[in-house]
Subunit: 410 residues, 2 copies
C-alpha cells in the first residue's frame, strides 16, 4: 500500500469520457489498496473559453478577477472526477485551494506556494477516501483566490506530495515518458526509465516541455519521487530520481533543442568592467529573457558579446542593443533570428572529456556550422542555423548511440 | 448616498453583452454616490451545461460534488462583472460564499443560511469599492461548498441586505415589477408601485414566480426593503413594503393563478378524529405537496374531503388515496386533473365583506362554475375548470377595477 499523488493535465481530462477513464484508473488503484490523491487541471479548452469571456468585458483583465474566473476550470474538473469516482462506488471528495489551505503569496496569475495543510487530506485518506484537488489555485493570506501560472497544477501535485510525504508523484500527460530526443524528429528515440532531476530540468527547459521547470525544482528540493506517465497508454513512464547514476549507465541521456531563438551580437566594445552590466541591465529592464551569453576577448582591448533571446523578443532586443552600442561607441551590431539551440544532456559529462569532441565531430560530418557554444555541468549547447535542426538532432542521437538502451550497449 | 444591494438573475447576465449593461448601471450608481453590493446568478444556460456534464459521469450526481460544480457558475459571473466594472474605472472585488462567510447548514442542494459576516464587505464599501458576490452558494461549518437551491441568489441578496442593513435590496429580473395580473392574460394589467410582503408572498406562491417565497419570507423577517425591477428597461419597479396600507388604497392588489393543478376527493368516510391524519400522513410520506384542503361534513355522520396537488403528482396521489379509501371503507374516490386555481389577493380584505360576493358574482356572470373555495387572511382562492383560466382572471381583474390606479379611482 502506497500513498500516490497523481496529476492529470487538460488533455487527460478533456471531456467526460476522458474523466471517466481517469476515474477507472484511480478507482482500480484505490481498490488495490493504494491511498490516492488526485490533482486535476481544467478540461482542455475551458481556460480558453474563460479567457475569451474575460476579454469581452475587460480588454486588460484585472489579475485578481482573472484568477477568480480561471479557478472555476479546475473546480469543474475536480467535482466531475469526484462524481465519476462515486459512480464507481469509490468514496471521494473534491477540495479547492482554499479548503486545503494552499497558501500562496498574493502575486495573482503566478503566485508561489508558501504552505499546504495536509491534515484535512490525511483525515480523508485515513477514512479510505480518494481526495481530488483542484490544481493551479490557492489562496493568499487574506483569502483571495490566486492561481499559480503555467504548469501550476504540476506544482500543486508536487507540493501536495511533499506535504503528505507521498511515495510517488505521478504526472499524467499526453506523452509516455521522457525520451532521448523528440520522437517526431528522431524515430529511434528511446524512452528513458530514469533521469536525474538535473537532466530533467535541462530537458524540460530546453524544449521538451513536459513538466514545468518550477515544479521539477520544487520536487528536487523536497526529494519527491516524480514519475511522468501517459494517461492514454499503459506503461511505466519515466522516473525522475535523486540518486547518483551508476557508473555503467550512459553519460548522455538525451538530445534537447529549442526552436524560435534569435541571437544578437555587439562587436568591438571596450573590454572593461561595467560593459556587460550596462548591456544586460537595459535588456532585463525590458523584461526580455536572455538565454546564452558568450563573450570573446579580442587582442586589441576590444571585445564582442553575443547572446540569444526568444525570437519574439528579437526586434525589441535589437532596438535596445543599437542604443547601447551608440553609448558604448561599439563598432557594429549584428543579429540573426533564424537560429536554433541543440543540446546534449547528461549527468557527469564533465568527467568524460570526449563528449564535446564527439558532439562537434558529428555536426561537422553533416556540414553543420556551429555559431555559438555554451556548456554547463550537465549539458553542452550549440547554436546553429535553424535549417539544420532535425539533421543535427538526428546526427547527435546516432553519434551517442541513444537508440540502444544502456544495458544492451555494455 | 444609500447602501444598495442589487441582485441580477441568469437572464440579466446571460452573456458578456448583458454583463456589460449591468456594469454600466452599477458604475453609474456608484459614481452618483451610492454604496453598491451586487449579487449575481450564473449566466443563463451555464447551470444546464454543468448539469449535463454531471450526468455524463454520474447518473445520480453526488449532492456534495454537484454543489462544487454548480457553484462555478456564479463564480464566473462574479469575476466577469468585477472585470467589467474595472474596465469602467470602478474599483470592484468579487467574493465567493466562503470568502464572506455565508455560513449554511450542510444540506447540499438546498442549504439554509445561518449567518453572514458583513465585515469584509463593509471594509471594501468604506474604501469605495463595489462588492460583487456570487449568489446561490455558501459554506457549511466544515468549509464544504453548499448551494441554496432554487432562487438561492435572491436569498443571498436578502441575507446580505439584512447583514449590512442596506437601504434597499433590488432584485433585477426580466419583468419590470409586480402586476395586478399576468399581462399575457390581462392586457390591462397594471404594475403595482407597492405591495405588502404578505401580498407578495401570495402573488409569488400563486404562480407569479418572480421571487422565491423563501427570500420574501426572509426579507419580511428582517424588514429588508425589497424592490423588483427590470434589468432590460428603466422604471421604478415594485417596492415590497412592511407598512400598513393607507385606508384609501385598493383592497385588492392583484389576481393570481396556478396552472397544472389537480384535485382529488374521497367521499363518504366516517367523520371522526384521525381520518384526516391517516389520509395526509401517507400523502406527505410520498413527498407530495398538498395545496388546498376542503372538508364538508354530511348529515349522516359521513364526510367528504377534497384536496389539490400539482398535476405531476396526480397519479401517485390517486394510488395512495385508493388504498386509504379501502382502509377507511370510504364510499368513493374521485379526481380531476384539468383544474386551475384563481385567487384574488389583497391585504385587509377581511374587513371588506363584499370581496367574496363580488368575486363569485363576476365568475357566475361568465358561467364559470366554482368547484372549491378556500380563504386566508389576504386572499380568496377558487378552483375552476382549466378552460376558464383566462376568462376568469380577466373577469375578476375588471370586476375589481384593477386597471385603474388607486389614485384615479377615488
Amino acid at each position: 500500500m502506497a500513498l500516490i499523488v497523481q496529476k492529470y493535465g487538460g488533455t487527460s481530462v478533456a471531456d467526460t469520457e476522458r474523466i471517466n477513464a481517469v476515474a477507472d484508473r484511480v478507482a482500480r488503484m484505490r481498490a488495490a489498496g493504494d491511498l490516492m490523491v488526485v490533482v486535476v487541471s481544467a478540461m482542455s479548452g475551458e481556460t480558453d473559453r474563460l479567457l475569451k469571456l474575460a476579454t469581452e468585458v475587460d480588454d486588460n483583465p484585472l489579475a485578481r478577477e482573472l484568477d477568480v474566473l480561471l479557478a472555476t476550470g479546475e473546480q469543474e474538473t475536480a467535482a466531475l472526477l469526484s462524481m465519476a469516482l462515486h459512480q464507481r462506488n469509490c468514496d471521494a471528495r473534491s477540495y479547492m485551494g482554499h479548503q486545503v489551505h494552499i497558501l500562496t503569496d498574493n502575486i495573482h496569475g503566478k503566485a508561489r506556494i508558501r504552505g499546504i495543510d495536509g491534515d484535512r487530506v490525511r483525515k480523508d485518506l485515513d477514512r479510505g477516501r480518494v481526495v481530488v484537488i483542484a490544481g493551479f489555485q490557492g489562496v493568499d493570506e487574506e483569502g483571495n483566490i490566486t492561481t499559480l501560472g503555467r504548469g501550476g497544477s504540476d506544482t500543486t501535485a508536487v507540493a501536495m506530495s511533499a506535504a503528505l510525504k507521498a511515495d510517488e508523484c505521478q504526472i499524467y500527460t499526453d506523452v509516455d515518458g521522457i525520451y532521448t530526443a523528440d520522437p517526431r524528429i528522431v524515430p529511434e528515440a528511446r524512452r528513458l526509465d530514469r533521469v536525474t532531476v538535473e537532466e530533467m530540468l535541462e530537458l524540460a527547459s530546453l524544449g521538451a516541455k513536459i513538466l514545468q521547470t518550477r515544479s521539477v525544482q520544487f520536487a528536487g528540493k523536497y526529494k519527491v519521487p516524480l514519475r511522468v506517465l501517459s494517461s492514454f497508454e499503459v506503461g511505466p513512464g519515466t522516473l525522475i530520481s535523486y540518486e547518483e547514476k551508476k557508473m555503467e549507465e550512459a553519460v548522455i541521456s538525451g538530445i534537447a533543442f529549442t526552436r524560435d531563438e534569435a541571437k544578437l551580437t555587439i562587436l568591438g566594445v571596450p573590454d572593461q568592467p561595467g560593459v556587460a552590466y550596462k548591456l544586460f541591465d537595459d535588456i532585463a529592464a525590458a523584461a526580455i529573457e536572455v538565454d546564452m551569453i558568450v563573450q570573446n576577448v579580442g587582442a586589441d582591448g576590444l571585445t564582442d558579446v553575443t547572446f540569444t533571446v526568444q525570437r519574439a523578443d528579437y526586434a525589441k532586443a535589437m532596438n535596445i542593443l543599437k542604443k547601447v552600442a551608440e553609448e558604448l561607441s561599439a563598432q557594429e551590431v549584428k543579429g540573426d533570428d533564424k537560429i536554433v539551440k541543440i543540446s546534449v544532456v547528461g549527468v557527469g559529462m564533465r568527467s568524460h572529456a570526449g563528449i564535446a569532441s564527439t558532439m562537434f565531430q558529428a555536426l561537422a560530418q553533416e556540414g553543420i556550422n556551429i555559431q555559438m557554444i555554451s556548456t554547463s555541468e550537465i549539458k553542452i549547447s550549440v547554436v546553429v542555423d535553424e535549417k539544420y535542426l532535425e539533421l543535427g538532432v538526428r546526427a547527435l542521437h546516432t553519434a551517442f548511440g541513444l537508440e540502444k538502451s544502456p544495458e544492451s550497449s555494455t
